[in-house]
Symmetry: D3
Subunit: 156 residues, 6 copies
């Protein structure tokens, strides 16, 4: 696992149209549906970085910022922001786009941690991140801070 | 909204059998499926406390502790731990139980925040909590601390 | 299988919000969706009583009493009312609750029979019921009567 | 509603391949899935007879006779056997067919009652049955008997 | 595989009610839902003809002719029109029927090709068609022409 | 609608992990599931080009080239290749990627036609294509040829 990998190599983009089967009683998207989409796109990103089967370890934060309505196109972007020895923190951003008015708005901001599994289904090391741009370095520093805060909180 | 309400009045329990349609490629439960279950049971709890339609504002933490396998019974317990003016923090615990061996294990621990909506679909005040037991008071204090840490983190 | 078990030890409660994906063209719940929910909660109850994998043998009766509408919370209660040598009759009651008006109404009353399977996937004996309350004894007597009527009917 | 209608005019046949998304933890079909299929095919039959939107009133009996396995073709036949003033009793038979061995076996036998709704969503009269064959008359007599037994049972 | 089989022996009919879970944001059926239904009914037809597990090789044409609305009954008819050595071309017609107005209209016309798999999961020969009626012979000639045009197109 | 638009402005990429709920009895992806994914990604592409709600008019061709197995990542690419007055031909390519071996293979190649709907739900004009690269011009010429062949075929 000596080879570092760029976050660019594992970015994932994915889009859905919000159908009635995805909605809640108010006609907006059902929270659980978006969480499923976020979990899947995050897992694909983690698997691309590690070349391993990955499972969700935690959702570190997930904020609904803006509603996602019936008929909107939801676009999700996942990228890796931090690696532990066997874990990866993935950031997922969800944007809504009305097909006619084309107004884009960020709907959800989420951070999830995935763990890579070896053939024995036990956690296995993942490649470190090769950070080149300022934005990648900033995302890494933010994630490290976020992780420290989470650990402090769980210890308290 | 002068009337306080006990957390006991809005507790929700719900159970699922893990079917093949809920699983990932490894035969364990798909993360997104459990998140959907957690979101729904949390929303029911928030709606019972507020007598309002509630929408998910955030997942404040969600940890997968133990695997949940095909054929297991998943039991979810949701209870309200903290209220803001228009928001409610709900704790959700998920337990797995093998139908034959009857071994129970906690699989997921989660905290979600829901917002109550009025008829105008804008946030509307919710009843405060009437805390009577030590465990309710402790859960409230922990949630307040957790909320403070989350706010500090999002400000930084 | 000498040990009797109380019906209290296998009661199951479970709740759903009626989402658009659960509805029919009229905006009420689709009958087949509720039947799926009833089947799952009944199977969990039978598995808790028998500590075995259980499969549905029959629906002995299932009555839709009151509509269950989009946005309602559906709460299902399953309890064991009768045991044969390898079979268990489970009663399932479904209640609807409007999240705002809080009016509760019983929507469905159902009786299902499940069979416990051994490791060879053949029917295997289940614990007898330890009946202590008057209501448990009444439910048992009613179920016995119901079963006798069903047998008579299937013989004719 | 003076015009009688033959049961032949509302027969419905429908087929599914049992996919992993339809199965339980044992690899057979999940009971709730088959119940959904039965409810839908029964509703189509009732709607064809009445030219009305119909909703499920009850499952009068539903017996699992033979297992339905992953990969089998499930074929359902629905036909109307009895009419009340606003209700229709539908018989549904489900057969399993292994695609290679072609062995057919009856898996489920069910009787459901549907109610026809008028534009005001209240029960509305349905056409009587025009019975011509011996088998139709026998099915009608059996259903009448079954209905009498069910009524006696619910009164007791 | 010397025995020829009539197309009549593998015809499949299947019906669905269009539920909200099947619809798009406009309230009509979601295209992908109908494609799933068509694929399944086509596979059943191919499996009945070949007594083999069959997988989809191609959709040769699929035309949406008329909308299929929420609450409509969709009825699909699949029949085999052409056989290659290991492949079968299946025609699927989808009709919509409003339950009250009883107006029927053809919604979709599709041609799919399935391949029969042997126990080694490799393509395996299928019975030839025994064509007796004029309409069967015409469908066969049309399919042969269609296939030739498709091959010419894919070669160009 | 005088403004031409580049095909680059409406490209859509989307990824799924193949879960058990997406598979057939052989453990590969169920054909109908992939068709649903293709239909959705194609519709998003058409809506991005036209800034209109779009509905599927036809699948002009869809070929399964390579199997897509449980646990694979399926990645779909949709791009517009041709425009009529109110219709758009979209090409969709589906690739499978094993998360560990990272071998990529094209699984499906499809062409679909979508129609843009105005506020009156009637077909409405779409922007013409601004073709700049050789590959865009080639895709357009191929699509024109394909369309001509399809029209000839449907007239015959």
């Amino acid at each position: 696992m000596s080879q570092k990998k760029s976050p660019k190599d594992s970015c994932v983009e994915t889009s859905y149209i919000v159908l009635p089967s995805h909605t809640n009683a108010l006609g907006g998207v059902f929270g659980g549906t978006v969480m499923s989409w976020i979990d899947m796109v995050g897992a694909i990103c983690a698997q691309r970085h590690s070349n391993r089967i990955c499972v969700t370890a935690s959702i570190d934060a997930l904020h609904f910022i803006h509603p996602l309505e019936l008929g909107d196109t939801a676009t999700l972007f996942a990228r890796i922001v931090y690696t532990g020895r066997t874990s990866m923190m993935i950031s997922v951003d969800v944007y809504a786009e009305n097909p006619i008015r084309r107004i884009k708005a960020q709907c959800v901001k989420a951070y999830l941690t995935f763990v890579a599994l070896g053939e024995d289904r036990k956690p296995t090391p993942v490649p470190e991140l090769l950070l080149t741009t300022e934005s990648e370095k900033q995302a890494y520093a933010d994630a490290k801070e976020r992780r420290k805060a989470l650990l402090a909180q769980s210890r308290s």
